[in-house]
């Protein structure tokens, strides 16, 4: 049984996503080649090839970088079954608005503790505002997005 798993889904293919960084050292990062998921997302061949290459890129870079502590597994099967087999205590999932991925996260949450982890923010804007017009959003975003890491700093 593993304590924590990180599911790197098709919209979060990097080992330094905050979900991976938040996990304890030696947490396994898992990508699942889930055909059922991809058919639900109606992916064309070009999208599937791009995805496969992107996953392969992680495998290749990890094999060349012995400093990366986290094991990465690229497995094949149904996402919920593959992750459930490892009997994690907790699953960290990069946050997304993709409804197909969210449905898998919801299914996992009925059996395991699941935490959605946001990516590094582009801008510091109120999360609960109901944005309807871009330039209303931009009036807030421009106060922080011109700074590195989206954080205004007094230190030059």
């Amino acid at each position: 049984m593993s304590d924590t798993l990180v599911w790197l889904h098709p919209e979060a293919l990097r080992c330094h996503h905050p979900a991976a960084l938040e996990a304890p050292p030696q947490t396994t990062l898992v990508f699942v080649w889930d055909e059922e998921l991809f058919r639900e997302m109606d992916m064309s061949l070009k999208r599937l090839v791009f995805l496969y290459e992107s996953v392969l890129s992680i495998v290749t870079s990890l094999s060349q970088d012995s400093t990366e502590a986290r094991p990465f597994l690229a497995l094949q099967g149904r996402t919920v079954d593959v992750l459930a087999e490892r009997q994690p205590r907790e699953i960290l999932i990069p946050d997304t608005i993709n409804p197909v991925i969210l449905a898998r996260a919801k299914a996992l949450s009925t059996r395991f503790s699941v935490k959605m982890v946001a990516d590094h923010p582009f801008a510091d804007v109120p999360a609960d505002r109901d944005w309807r017009k871009f330039f209303d959003y931009w009036k807030h975003a421009e106060k922080s997005c011109f700074f590195e890491n989206g954080t205004p700093s007094l230190v030059k």
Binding site: F38, K46, Y52, S57, W131, W138, F146, N149
Partner: protein
């Protein structure tokens, strides 16, 4: 036959998990493998490669200042980073940080950062309103109701055989590469919704299938923006506009683009005949 198990990990993996194949002699071998394991997948592979190597090459080439001046043009200094962003290989934060390092003052990156901001904006809108992924956020401002729009994309559009040369060129590029300049996407979306009167959902679904940077928030809400169900007016374009930004890249002759060859006033009269007064 390739054994998908990783012998080094046999002792760690539960019995049912298979490791994906990672030994390919070249790209063609990988493509053949994906075709074999996903025989249901439509179309051809794109020449655009996935993965962090290409993403970082493109990231190193960004020019936020040139982007600001040329982004609407076919051969403008667009970054082509969007497929890598959509797959999470690069984050908006990382791209922003790189862009700022390339500018003498942050304000030189305004247009560039605004474009990143649009992506962030769409994500936030859809997070608050997930139903808008596939439902009209508002009424059409075209004078028509949803019942006036066809549900399905005709095959001539999907195959790039509309007879409108510029549109057909854009569709071919979409089908062959999975990438399209943002301005061209707006042209195609406008043609589908307003010139052919087809529901934006059909077009959005089509784009999501083929675009390497498919993102349901950016894509679907952009289609709604063009359609006017998430904007105050419909987006339309004419041949003069295509000539200005894509002349020299696609066929912009009048004879081969007749439906587009009109003034905006004439197009509004033709396309939105039953215009209702907006509340």
């Amino acid at each position: 036959m390739h054994d998908p198990r990783d012998p080094a990990r046999d002792s760690e993996l539960p019995p049912a998990s298979l490791v994906i194949r990672t030994d390919f002699k070249d790209r063609a071998d990988l493509i053949a493998h994906v075709m074999a394991i996903c025989p249901w997948a439509e179309g051809e592979a794109s020449p655009i490669p996935g993965g962090a190597t290409r993403a970082r090459e493109l990231l190193a080439e960004i020019d936020p200042v040139a982007y600001g001046h040329t982004r609407n043009f076919a051969e403008g200094k667009v970054t082509r980073l969007s497929p890598y962003v959509s797959h999470g290989i690069l984050s908006l934060d990382e791209i922003r940080n790189t862009a700022l390092k390339g500018c003498t003052t942050p304000q030189h990156a305004t247009k560039f950062l605004q474009e990143l901001g649009w992506r962030d904006f769409w994500q936030r809108v859809l997070k608050n309103h997930p139903e808008w992924a596939w439902h009209d956020a508002d009424a059409y401002k075209t004078g028509f109701g949803p019942e006036d729009y066809a549900d399905a994309l005709p095959t001539d559009i999907v195959h790039g055989e509309t007879g409108v040369a510029s549109i057909d060129a854009f569709v071919r590029e979409l089908n062959e590469t999975g990438y399209l300049h943002n301005h061209a996407r707006m042209y195609v979306a406008s043609y589908v919704v307003h010139f052919r009167r087809i529901k934006w959902q059909a077009g959005a679904r089509w784009f999501l299938k083929h675009l390497l940077d498919a993102n349901i928030a950016s894509n679907n809400l952009s289609w709604q923006w063009v359609a006017s169900t998430f904007s105050s007016k419909p987006y339309i374009f004419n041949l003069e506009n295509v000539r200005k930004y894509f002349g020299g890249v696609v066929d912009v002759s009048s004879e081969n683009n007749r439906p587009l060859d009109a003034s905006y006033e004439a197009l509004e009269e033709r396309l939105f005949q039953k215009r209702r007064v907006a509340p």
